[in-house]
């Protein structure tokens, strides 16, 4: 059976590590097409020689048995990302705020998205290093203690 390949835009390449982590958390009935039994995945293009420090591929694709299966996974990734972020924010508001405020105001808290474990540091690197040292290899969600976001970008540059 021919596979369907859908190109991922280069400006979305930096989202691939997150998307792959999220795909791992999706139930099998979402990841695998019920009609054709094929799993949807992201495939990187041919590896480029002498690419230097950059990403070693020029192309990346969603790959699946049909467009419907790819659409289903893309939509599930979008929903799951929002769901995990909402859960991390709830964890912060319900449990962590009273533990971390006001002592750690302005610092960055890394919340491990599957366990809810948290680590505080002066920035994302410091908080992530503590999480990795504690054995957490999964994706972290970062939040500034005392804020509903990590950072503000107050110059209109979007």
């Amino acid at each position: 059976m021919d596979k369907v390949k859908r190109r991922i835009k280069p400006e979305e390449f930096t989202e691939i590590p997150r998307i792959r982590e999220i795909i791992k958390t999706l139930p099998r009935e979402i990841r695998v097409c019920s009609r054709h039994g094929e799993e949807v995945d992201i495939e990187l293009g041919e590896l480029l020689p002498n690419q230097g420090p950059g990403v070693p591929f020029a192309e990346a694709y969603w790959v699946g048995c049909c467009d419907e299966a790819i659409d289903r996974v893309i939509e599930a990734v979008r929903k799951k990302t929002l769901e995990l972020i909402d859960r991390a924010k709830r964890t912060y508001n319900d449990e962590l705020a009273r533990e971390l405020e006001p002592e750690h105001m302005g610092e960055i808290v890394a919340i491990e998205l599957t366990t809810g474990d948290h680590f505080v540091g002066e920035n994302e690197v410091a908080a992530a290093d503590k999480a990795r040292a504690a054995g957490h290899q999964g994706m972290l969600y970062f939040l500034r203690v005392g804020s509903p976001y990590a950072h503000r970008l107050m110059t209109p540059r979007q």
């Binding site: 400006e11 420090p53 994302e124 972290l140 950072h151």
Partner: protein, 119 residues
């Protein structure tokens, strides 16, 4: 040790830094309270380590999602690892206030100089 920047063609203060192993021009923007945020297409050229998602609030109050990575940067004579956010929602690389902790930033519009030194 100091970092000397300059004004770009849009009359904005910028510095050039070795980020990963590429030279990147960064707009100095104290309205950004993080370390570095760069467009995804620039991020594709760097050695980055993925850590996880984070949200930003823009000047309009809207939130947008970015992905937090870490990267090594030459900074005032030292090679240090700093957070860098990659997002398709920004169009240029920006250096924010978190990088300037313990530093003095001087922007002299009259003399057209931009300098960063330890305070």
């Amino acid at each position: 040790m100091q970092i000397d920047g300059y004004f770009n063609l849009s009359d904005e203060p910028v510095v050039e830094l070795d980020v990963g192993s590429a030279r990147v021009e960064l707009l100095v923007d104290t309205g950004f309270n993080g370390s570095l945020i760069i467009p995804s297409q620039i991020a594709n050229q760097l050695n980055l380590r993925f850590e996880g998602p984070e949200e930003f609030q823009s000047v309009t109050g809207e939130m947008f999602l970015a992905d937090a990575y870490s990267v090594e940067v030459d900074w005032l004579g030292n090679r240090i690892r700093v957070p860098v956010a990659a997002s398709k929602h920004v169009k240029e690389a920006i250096l924010g206030g978190q990088m300037l902790r313990d530093c003095r930033l001087s922007i002299d519009y009259g003399r057209r100089t931009v300098t960063i030194v330890r305070s």
